[in-house]
């Protein structure tokens, strides 16, 4: 499946872009409405893009009454990204989403770099959410941990059905003249090309650490980038920053992905799944 990374597409503002995906992932929904962080909230760097949006969203009440009915009209499977500041926030939203058949899956954003981190661990959040909903739960993890494989194992033990890898990693840009931070918040989440090797490593590590299916994301600009994530162990691939530069990216990347697989002797890209592990090369320690 080809998806969007959460926060990288507004399907109501751009329905045709969403329809080119196999599933649409919403911007993270929190219990209460959030305006997000003080502008400036985005900055381009030499190797990617920084954002400090800060989970701007209408809150779960207005999401359910206003956004969801519009999203249901798209005819695209819906994943709802859920965020919060304590386990109870996640439990509450999961419980309320459980009543909506149009919600196909829930992605638990336990790793936004732009808000105060949830005090509880990913494991507690997944465990609490698991009790609140029967829907498939995908845990979106940060690569900024010492061993993402351990976090992935904990998420699986707590009842996660899948992993979304990876969220952005914190970065800072200074104005070249004033040497002051460009972003209003100071620091932000780095996405784009710089994230690709980090995402590949996280996917490969979690593929070996758990049996959970993985949505790979981070720096996907071409079909070959997507195929590399599949080879590292991702069942599905999400497009993030590239959507900003190219709203036609879903159709293009899908075409390139199939072509890249066939050029390498696979009939479909699914056949390339975990191909990078066949020689077990990265398991060796030197």
């Amino acid at each position: 499946m080809l998806l969007n990374a959460s926060g990288c597409l507004d399907a109501i503002a751009a329905p045709d872009v969403a329809r080119a995906l196999d599933a649409f992932v919403t911007k993270t929904v929190t219990p209460l409405p959030r305006d997000g962080n003080t502008p400036v909230r985005i900055a381009e760097t030499e190797v990617g893009m920084l954002n400090s949006i800060g989970l701007a969203n209408p809150g779960i009440d207005r999401f359910l009454s206003g956004s969801l009915p519009q999203l249901e009209q798209l005819g695209v499977p819906l994943w709802v990204s859920v965020g919060g500041f304590e386990t109870h926030d996640y439990e509450e939203i999961c419980s309320r989403l459980d009543d909506y058949p149009s919600v196909n899956a829930i992605e638990l954003n336990v790793s936004c770099p732009n808000v105060e981190a949830p005090v509880e661990s990913a494991q507690q959040i997944v465990a609490g959410s698991r009790l609140a909903t029967r829907k498939p739960l995908w845990a979106k993890l940060s690569p900024a941990v010492s061993d993402i494989g351990e976090v992935a194992k904990a998420a699986q033990a707590a009842g996660a059905d899948g992993l979304s890898l990876v969220n952005t990693i914190r970065g800072l840009k200074l104005d070249s003249r004033t040497l002051q931070p460009v972003l209003g918040l100071g620091q932000g989440g780095l996405s784009g090309p710089a994230l690709k090797p980090i995402a590949l490593a996280a996917v490969a590590t979690c593929y070996r650490a758990t049996s959970l299916p993985i949505v790979g994301m981070g720096g996907v600009r071409t079909g070959l980038d997507a195929l590399e994530l599949v080879a590292a162990g991702a069942r599905h691939v999400a497009i993030g920053t590239t959507l900003f530069a190219d709203p036609d990216a879903p159709a293009r990347i899908r075409m390139e992905l199939h072509a890249a697989a066939q050029e390498r002797g696979w009939s479909t890209y699914e056949d390339a799944y975990a191909a990078a592990h066949e020689q077990a090369l990265s398991l060796r320690t030197t």
Partner: protein, 219 residues
């Protein structure tokens, strides 16, 4: 909105600015004040530019080379093909009785096309130097001032103001011309509502300029 690869026709200096002219392809020029996302060669993200002129079979953008993206756009050679997405956002409401165009600096960019569509109404334009003021030649029927004179000193009462310029100028215009239509700007990654990067605080609320603006009516 539509995204196409358009071919550069010419890059012409206008004072310190550059007028980038590209073949129009199948892209609609839209309403004055709407904008386009221009691929900036060698950069990750495109750059938002309002349309300056819509000559036959062309789109023209007035660009101030202030960073790596705008510098790469201003250096493009004829024949180079770049992706252009648009038209985007909400432009000026053209149903006004007594229009006055107000521009400051590179904020003059959307005014030539706006002037054309409104039948060359009067305009007041402010610049920081005589060199910058060369861009005033693009706007017919314009009164020009150079700092320290400010455009707000030249706005008569009772006209429907349509303005584009730096934020302090727009705030000052708003103070003297209630109901003015103001074209704002902010850094944007996408231009079509996806990134939430272009939120600006206006009247105590954060608004996504790309979908709610860039032209907003002053309270």
């Amino acid at each position: 909105m539509r995204r196409e690869r358009l071919s550069v026709v010419a890059n012409e200096p206008v004072g310190p600015y550059t007028l980038l002219r590209v073949g129009r392809g199948g892209i609609d020029p839209g309403v004055p004040g709407q904008f386009f996302m221009l691929e900036a060669p060698g950069r990750l993200l495109p750059r938002p530019m309002s349309l300056c002129l819509a000559p036959s079979r062309e789109l023209a953008f007035l660009i101030d080379a202030i960073g790596p993206g705008t510098r790469s756009l201003c250096a493009l050679e004829p024949g180079y093909e770049l992706h252009v997405l648009g038209p985007l956002g909400n432009g000026f409401d053209l149903e006004v009785e007594r229009p006055l165009l107000v521009g400051g600096g590179i904020g003059v960019a959307p005014l030539p096309y706006l002037s054309e569509r409104l039948g060359s109404p009067p305009a007041v334009l402010g610049f920081r130097s005589d060199w910058h003021a060369e861009a005033a030649a693009l706007v017919p029927n314009a009164q020009v001032c150079v700092e320290p004179t400010l455009v707000t000193e030249l706005i008569p009462a009772g006209l429907n103001v349509l303005a584009c310029g730096p934020e302090p100028m727009l705030e000052a215009v708003r103070a003297v011309a209630s109901g003015a239509q103001l074209a704002w700007e902010a850094p944007m990654a996408c231009g079509y509502g996806a990134c939430y990067g272009c939120a600006v605080e206006i009247d105590g609320r954060l608004k996504r300029l790309c979908v709610e603006g860039p032209v907003l009516c002053a309270a």
